[in-house]
């Protein structure tokens, strides 16, 4: 039943000043890249990628950006949230050398895929970009797995610059079979274009406004009616290349087009 099940939070971990992880019990199988709809009773229900897949537990990891995430941020062990899912599809690991590129909280969505790639014995490079040092998280976790490169807009940690610039260098050095990315759409779009030029396998986890999570309301559509909540959130390069709106505009909760600023 695609219906919220209410569970008790088992653990809360603070990842940085604005980011926390919330753990809850979950036993069925989940693919890295899938997400849950998280109900904060009386406030909202919002999509959150699974950020850790443990034995009998999973976590979501989120940044405080508004009403619902603010409330989640204040929650503690024992508090109750609704979970609906896992929804959507997952990442597919392809080839031997995988480049992961995360911008902002995007690392939350791809971290389980990095775990999986590691399990499969792949060569892994992870690029994490953030505005500033204090927005970074999951660094220790990633460092243990593969080659980690950190980029910040202000140079307060790692290289100064954009994650997409670092990604570009790596892709152009012909050292990767596949790129997996999650972050600001303009960043993902730039990386998509790079991968298309060089025929590198590409997958991105895309964000759209999610309402029903049932594939009905159509709110989350991209391209020719592809539903982020069903056919996504992970799309491959071929598919996204056909989506005229990808990297161009998203839709707000009324369905109006909101054009992306180049950034």
């Amino acid at each position: 039943m695609n219906y919220p099940r209410f569970v008790r939070i088992t653990r809360v971990v603070r990842e940085n000043r604005n980011v926390k992880s919330i753990f809850f019990p979950f036993e069925s199988s989940i693919d890295p890249g899938q997400f849950f709809m998280i109900t904060i009773p009386g406030i909202d229900e919002i999509p959150m990628s699974v950020s850790r897949i443990l034995d009998k537990e999973v976590s979501i990891t989120f940044r405080k950006v508004g009403d619902a995430t603010e409330r989640l941020f204040g929650m503690r062990e024992g508090d109750i949230i609704g979970i609906r899912g896992p929804l959507g599809n997952g990442f597919r690991i392809e080839g031997d050398r995988i480049l992961f590129v995360a911008g902002g909280t995007g690392i939350a969505s791809i971290a389980p895929a990095v775990d999986l790639a590691k399990e499969l014995g792949k060569d892994i490079i992870v690029v994490i970009g953030a505005r500033t040092r204090e927005d970074l998280f999951f660094l220790e976790r990633m460092k243990k797995i593969g080659k980690l490169m950190v980029v910040t807009d202000d140079g307060s940690a790692g290289r100064k610059g954009l994650a997409s610039d670092v990604a570009k260098e790596i892709i152009e050095s012909n050292k990767v079979d596949q790129v997996i990315t999650c972050g600001p759409e303009m960043m993902m779009k730039k990386i998509l274009d790079l991968c298309r030029e060089r025929s590198v396998d590409f997958q991105a986890s895309v964000e759209r406004y999610i309402k029903c999570g049932l594939g009905l309301c159509g709110q989350c559509c991209i391209g020719e009616g592809l539903r982020v909540c069903i056919e996504g959130p992970v799309f491959d390069g071929d598919t996204l290349a056909r989506c005229a709106d990808f990297g161009h505009y998203q839709r707000d909760s009324s369905g109006r087009r909101v054009y992306l600023k180049d950034g």
């Binding site: 039943m1 695609n2 219906y3 919220p4 099940r5 209410f6 709809m37 109900t39 009773p41 009386g42 406030i43 909202d44 229900e45 919002i46 109750i80 609704g82 609906r84 999610i210 309402k211 029903c212 999570g213 049932l214 594939g215 009905l216 309301c217 159509g218 709110q219 559509c221 991209i222 391209g223 020719e224 009616g225 592809l226 539903r227 709106d245 839709r251 707000d252 909760s253 009324s254 369905g255 109006r256 087009r257």
Partner: protein
């Protein structure tokens, strides 16, 4: 063998994408058509953009879907772009509109006609939006007036989507007919509620929602049968159409076409193609070569 004609529209088959389901943007309307729908109906569009209600707005329940989206839509101005992209592919698209009074309905209808809609669908039946839908659609006089006014404003067919949440649906159907309406769509989702036992509160943010899917089919079929017994204008059945057999049941009750919404959740977007195939198989087994061969047989 599935082609139909309804109020002058010729459609390749009698299945339509129901309003509010994958109908808010050009891409999803196009996809539904390419997945086999005979026509597609847009999300109900109003004069102004609306964000709809906060989540949860939709959940699966035992015998169907419960939703209370709250009529989110980009507003008629911005919707032109979506329509253009659909219409330029020559897809028969029916523009669903909602408003609080006859004048606003007329303005919206004219805009939709201008955008190239092949017909208008008046949403007189949304079960969960204050001041719209059901709150208007239960008053025969209001209904008659709105239909009349809209008919005066446009030249394309005007369908009225009505609700089972009335004491006598035939009375509303007759008001549509008297107003000069070209057809009736019955039914919209049924006003309902699910209370969650963990939170002890209604599960939907808006508390009340509209119940759709297989659980309402017996109500929808009854409404179409009642309407078809007393009304001349064509009827489009909706509510729980999931399989070819469900579509056939509505057609036996007198419907000329059916709309499909929730079944997309259960059977995927190519549910239109599946339903059409199942209908054809049944028609072949029963020796029918066109929809009109068996339409309304249950009424006789």
């Amino acid at each position: 063998m599935l082609e139909i004609e309804i109020s002058g529209l010729r459609l390749r088959n009698p299945t339509m994408l129901a309003s509010g389901v994958m109908g808010e943007c050009s891409g999803s309307l196009i996809r539904a058509y390419r997945s086999g729908a005979g026509a597609v109906v847009t999300k109900s569009i109003g004069l102004e953009p609306r964000e709809g209600y906060p989540n949860p707005t939709a959940v699966e329940i035992e015998c169907g879907i419960l939703n209370s989206m709250g009529l989110p839509n980009p507003g008629i101005d911005e919707f032109g772009e979506e329509m253009r992209e659909v219409v330029e592919l020559e897809i028969p698209v029916i523009g669903s509109i909602f408003a609080g009074d006859a004048e606003s309905f007329s303005i919206l209808a004219k805009r939709m006609q201008g955008y190239g809609a092949c017909a208008i669908e008046l949403n007189l039946s949304c079960p969960h939006a204050r001041g719209y839908g059901l709150e208007i659609g239960t008053d025969p006089d209001l209904v008659r007036g709105i239909v009349k006014e809209v008919k005066r404003s446009v030249s394309i067919p005007v369908f009225s989507k009505i609700s089972a949440n009335v004491a006598d649906i035939v009375e509303i159907g007759k008001a549509v007919e008297e107003g000069g309406g070209d057809g009736i769509v019955a039914i919209n989702s049924v006003k309902a509620m699910k209370i969650d036992l963990s939170t002890k509160k209604p599960i939907l943010f808006n508390r009340f929602g509209g119940y759709s899917g297989r659980g309402i089919k017996p109500i929808g079929v009854r409404c179409v049968y009642e309407l078809a017994s007393e009304i001349e204008i064509p009827i489009i059945g909706a509510g729980g159409v999931e399989k070819g057999e469900d579509a056939i049941e509505y057609i036996l009750a007198g419907a000329k076409a059916v709309q499909v919404g929730s079944a997309i959740f259960y059977r995927g977007i190519d549910v239109f193609r599946k339903i059409c195939k199942e209908m054809e198989e049944w028609m072949e087994r029963n020796g029918y070569s066109s929809i009109e061969d068996f339409r309304g047989l249950a009424l006789k």
